[in-house]
């Protein structure tokens, strides 16, 4: 089923337009990178606070609330531009181990962020040991997305 979907992406008008252009891939990739800076900051600032670093004078819930719209916005841009990039080389991605490392990390990171991490960060009454564990897991999951993503080009 996945194979059929990737074949469809490869054959899609968007995929063909991007792969057929000299400039489109670099431009979409650059937007993907700009959103990376924003999502990187939005994730790290909250994870640092969860671990006990960074803005320690502020309640965790306030830091998490301030960062959330930026996290959601930049994630949306990442998903849209990432999907565009994928369609332009869908079959290459399908057979790329780094791509799948990225996709699985992304799935778990996103679920974890909007369930466990969100509840812990917004609660303000969680034992420091647990906020630390949540912060570390979050950094590791999102790092998997980043390392996998960079790896697609080298794999």
């Amino acid at each position: 089923m996945l194979l059929a979907f990737f074949k469809w992406c490869e054959a899609s008008a968007m995929g063909k337009t991007i792969s057929g252009s000299v400039y489109l891939f670099p431009v979409v990739e650059a937007v993907h990178l700009l959103a990376l800076a924003v999502i990187g900051g939005a994730v790290l600032i909250v994870d640092m606070r969860l671990v006990g670093l960074g803005m320690r004078q502020q309640p965790i819930s306030q830091v998490a609330k301030d960062a959330e719209p930026w996290l959601i916005g930049s994630l949306a841009v990442m998903l849209i531009t990432g999907f565009m990039l994928m369609t332009s080389e869908a079959m290459r991605c399908y057979y790329n181990g780094a791509f799948w490392l990225k996709m699985w990390s992304l799935l778990f990171a996103t679920i974890f962020t909007f369930t466990v991490r969100r509840r812990v960060a917004f609660a303000d009454a969680v034992k420091p040991m647990w906020t630390k564990v949540v912060g570390v897991i979050s950094v590791l999951l999102w790092s998997g997305v980043g390392v996998g993503g960079r790896g697609i080009g080298f794999y």
């Binding site: 000299v22 670099p26 990739e29 650059a30 990178l33 700009l34 990376l36 800076a37 924003v38 999502i39 990187g40 900051g41 939005a42 994730v43 790290l44 600032i45 640092m48 670093l53 960074g54 803005m55 320690r56 004078q57 502020q58 306030q62 830091v63 301030d66 960062a67 930026w70 790092s143 980043g146 390392v147 960079r150 790896g151 080298f154």
Partner: protein, 167 residues
């Protein structure tokens, strides 16, 4: 010594040759450079957004500065070191690449912008530390920084392409 001869000299060093001949050095250093972007620029972006007045409005500016700037410095050090590593891979190619030059002009401008901010409106930060709406010079500094760093990222990514390289 001209800039070109500096890059030619760099290319002739054993360090550069070793770097270039290694299979793993470039991918590793490149990955470090891209991922450290999250640390350095990720935090810098939110500092700028605070100055512009659209993020972390409830947190005093000096508090963000005090708590986050050590991490920005660490991120910047990683960016500079890994960036130097990338140049070391093919020094003359970087020197001749137009996007590399554009990136460095914008880096200098970003530094100048930060200096103007630090030596100007930030000296009077006590007056607006807790204000969500910062003074216009601070908002301007934040906006200029965001634009320049976006340009630096885009130019940095485009170094990979040789669209305008002389052959």
């Amino acid at each position: 010594m001209s800039l070109l001869s500096f890059f030619q000299w760099l290319e002739s060093t054993q360090l550069s040759v070793n770097f270039h001949e290694s299979v793993w050095m470039y991918p590793i250093v490149e990955s470090v450079h891209v991922l450290a972007l999250c640390l350095f620029l990720g935090i810098t972006v939110f500092w700028d957004l605070r100055l512009v007045g659209v993020a972390f409005g409830g947190v005093p500016a000096t508090e963000i500065d005090k708590r986050m700037f050590p991490w920005v410095k660490l991120g910047f050090a990683i960016m500079v070191l890994s960036g130097f590593g990338l140049v070391l891979n093919t020094p003359v190619r970087y020197y001749t690449n137009i996007f590399f030059r554009i990136k460095f002009v914008m880096l200098a401008l970003a530094g100048l912008n930060a200096w103007v901010f630090e030596s100007g409106v930030y000296k009077k930060v006590k007056k607006w530390d807790r204000e969500k709406l910062t003074p216009s010079q601070a908002r301007m500094a934040g906006a200029v920084s965001l634009v320049l760093w976006a340009g630096i990222v885009i130019a940095g990514r485009m170094i990979a392409y040789n669209w305008f390289d002389k052959r």
